[in-house]
Amino acid sequence: MNARVLPYVLILPVTAFLCLFFLYPFVLVAKQAFSTGDGFTLDNFRQVVGYWKFPISLQNTLLLAAAVVPVQLALALLMATMVNKMQRGRDLVLYVWTIPLGISDLAAGIIWLAIFEQSGFLNSMLSGLGVVDRPVNFLSYQHPGVVFLAIALAEIWRATAIMLVILVAGIGLIPKEYYEAAEVFGASPWKRFTRITLPLLRPSLQTALVLRVILAFEVFAVVLALGGTLFPVLMSETYAYQFDLLDSGAAAAMALIILAISIGFTLIILRALRVPKGATI
C-alpha cells in the first residue's frame, strides 16, 4: 500500500472508535447542556451555578486537589528518586508501591472507611490504648476536618503511584553523565536534584501533573465512601443531578464545567512547565 496513506489507514480504527464512543457522546452532552428543549440557552448553567451547594462543592474539590496533588508530587518525586538509586530489588519495590493502582477507587474508599468508621480499626486501637472511653464517630458532621483528612489520606494512598510510575520512567531516561558532570562542577545532591533532575524531568512532570490534576477534579467514589453527603464535590453533585434529581441537562452542564476547569488547569501546567524554546530535553 502507498506509504503515505498507510499511517492514516492504521490509525483509522482508533480514530473511529474515539469518534463513536467519545466525540459523539460528548457532542450529545454538550447539546443537552446548552438546551432545555427549545433552542440554545445557558439556563442549565445558571441553574447549577446558582444552586447553594455549587460554591461549596467547587471549593471542596479545589481544596482537596490543592491538598492532595502537591503532597503526591513531593512523595512521588521522593519515591522515584529512591527507587532509581536502588541497585537490587528495584522492580519488587516498584510493584509493591503500585499495588494501590490496581484497586478501584471505591474499594480504596471502603478500605479507609474500615479504618475511620465508628467500629473501625482506628477506634479499636484508640480505645485499646485507653485514649478514648468509647468509639468516636470521626466521619460525622461534627468533625469536618477529620472527614477532609481521611479523604485526602485515601486519595494520597490510592493515586500517588500513578505519578510515581511516570516519574520513575522519566528519571530513568536522564543520562548519568549529567549527574557526574554536575557533581564534578560542585553541585550538591540537592542542587543536582533541583538543577538537573527537575528541569530534565519537565516533560514527565507535565504528564504526571496533568493526569493527576484531571483525576483530582473527577474525584468521586472515595469521597462518597468516606464523606457521603457531608463533603459535596463537583462530581458527586453531577451524579446527584443525573440520578437523584433526574435532571440530565443540569448534570451535563456540571460535566462541562468540570471539563472546562480541567482544560484550564492543563493549560496552566503545560505553560508553567514548558521547555524553553530551542532547548531539547
Binding site: P175, E177, Y178, E180, A181, A182, E183, V184, F185, G186, A187, K191, R195, I196, P199, L200, R202, V275, P276, G278, A279, T280, I281
Partner: protein, 346 residues
C-alpha cells in the same frame, strides 16, 4: 602547584580486578595521556582521580593534599566527558558558568569568566544557544570551556575527541593542546588513539590489563618500548617481531641472518619498526604479499621466514607482489624482548 600522585591504587569490581597497584606521579602542568585499548582500566583510573569512583586500595594526592576521601568538587579538578554532558536545558552561557554558579561567584565575575573562556574556545557567538542547536564540535568546545572556566588545578579529559570526525579531531587536537598549555593546568587525558597520545602528550602512560606498562615521553615510548605490548600497540603499522636464537658471543640468528644483539643465552624476540628497514644487499629475505602505496611512502606487507612482516619504503621503489626483497634493519633501531617476561632486554 598541582602535582598528582597515585599511590598503590587498585580497583576491583566484584571479582574483576580493573586496576592493579597503580603508581604514577604527574608533574605540575604536565600533559599526561593515559593510553590503552578499551577495557584496560584507563577510564577507571581517571574516574578515581576525579572522585567519581572510589579506589579499593591506595591513595590519590593532588597538590600535596590527599584527596581520595574528598568529593569531586573539593579536589580542584574539572572534567571533560566523552559525550560532553553539556546540559540540554541550559544555554551555552549557563553551561559554561555552571560550576561558577555552584561556587556562588558574583554575576559579573561569572560573566567575565564565561566570556573569556568562550572567546578562548571561539564560541562567543553561541552563548545564547542550547546544546540541541549545536554541532558535535561546538558541544565539545562548550564542554572544554566549562572546564576551563573553573580555572582548575587539574583538568581531566575522558576521550574528549572520540566522537568527532577525523578532520575536526585533528583540528581540535592542536587547538586543545595550545589552550591547555596556556592555561598552566595539569592535564590528564584518556584516549585509545595513539596518534592523539603521541601528538599531545608530554608523557604517555601506556596501560594494559589494569597495569601501567610504561610511562615515558612519546618519543621514548615509540623508540624504546618497555614491553612487547607497547611495541605492538604504538606505531601504525606496529613493530615487527621475529624469533631470534642465540648464536654465541652476542650474535643472534634471525630468519637465517646473523645479527648483533645482547649477550644472552635464552631465545629472544627481535623487533624492528617498519620504517627502520631499508632494501640492501644483505639482510632479511622478505616475500612481498601486499603493496599499499600511501603517497608519501609505500607500505609493503611481506612474509619473512613465514611470519608477517611490514616495511615502510620509499614510494619511488618499484615493488610488486611476489617479489623477494632483502631488507636490512637499521642496527641502532633494533630492539630485543624476552618472550618469557615480554619485557625489553637491553
Amino acid at each position: 602547584m598541582a602535582e598528582i600522585q597515585i599511590k598503590n591504587v587498585a580497583k576491583r569490581f566484584g571479582s574483576y580486578q580493573a586496576l592493579h597497584d597503580i603508581n604514577l606521579t604527574i608533574q605540575d602542568q604536565e600533559f599526561m595521556v593515559l593510553l590503552g585499548a578499551s577495557g584496560c582500566g584507563k577510564t577507571t583510573l581517571l574516574r578515581i582521580i576525579a572522585g567519581l569512583e572510589t579506589a579499593t586500595e591506595g591513595e590519590v594526592w593532588i597538590g600535596g593534599r590527599r584527596v581520595d576521601h574528598l568529593p569531586p568538587k573539593d579536589r580542584g579538578i574539572a572534567m571533560v566527558f566523552q559525550n560532553y554532558a553539556v546540559f540540554p536545558h541550559l544555554t551555552v552561557f549557563e553551561n559554561i558558568g555552571f560550576g561558577l554558579r555552584m561556587q556562588k561567584l558574583p554575576n559579573d565575575e561569572v560573566k567575565r569568566r564565561v566570556e573569556r573562556t568562550a572567546g578562548l574556545m571561539h564560541i562567543d557567538q553561541l552563548l545564547g544557544r542550547y546544546s540541541g542547536e549545536l554541532s558535535g564540535g561546538q558541544r565539545q568546545r562548550v564542554a572544554v570551556a566549562r572546564a576551563l572556566a573553573m580555572e582548575p588545578d587539574v583538568i581531566l579529559m575522558d576521550e574528549p575527541l572520540s566522537n568527532l570526525d577525523a578532520l575536526l579531531r585533528m583540528e581540535m587536537r592542536a587547538e586543545l593542546k595550545g589552550v591547555l598549555a596556556e592555561s598552566n593546568t595539569t592535564a590528564i587525558y584518556v584516549t585509545h588513539d595513539q596518534v592523539e597520545a603521541m601528538s599531545m602528550a608530554d608523557r604517555i602512560s601506556v596501560m594494559h590489563q589494569g597495569k601501567i606498562v610504561q610511562a615515558a615521553s612519546p618519543i621514548e615510548v615509540y623508540r624504546n618500548p618497555a614491553a612487547e605490548f607497547v611495541a605492538g600497540f604504538i606505531g601504525n603499522p606496529p613493530m615487527n617481531f621475529l624469533p631470534a636464537t642465540p648464536a654465541g658471543d652476542g650474535k643472534w640468528t634471525v630468519a637465517g641472518q646473523i645479527l648483533d644483539g645482547p649477550s644472552r643465552t635464552t631465545p629472544l624476540h627481535f623487533a624492528i619498526r617498519p620504517e627502520d628497514l631499508r632494501p640492501a644487499d644483505t639482510g632479511l629475505a622478505a616475500t612481498v604479499k601486499v603493496v599499499e602505496p600511501l603517497g608519501a611512502h609505500l607500505l609493503v606487507t611481506c612474509s619473512v621466514d613465514g611470519a608477517l612482516f611490514r616495511a615502510v619504503l620509499d614510494s619511488d621503489l618499484t615493488v610488486r607482489r611476489g617479489d623477494t626483497l632483502t631488507l636490512a634493519p637499521q642496527p641502532d633501531r633494533v630492539r630485543w624482548f624476552d618472550p618469557e617476561t615480554t619485557l625489553a632486554v637491553a
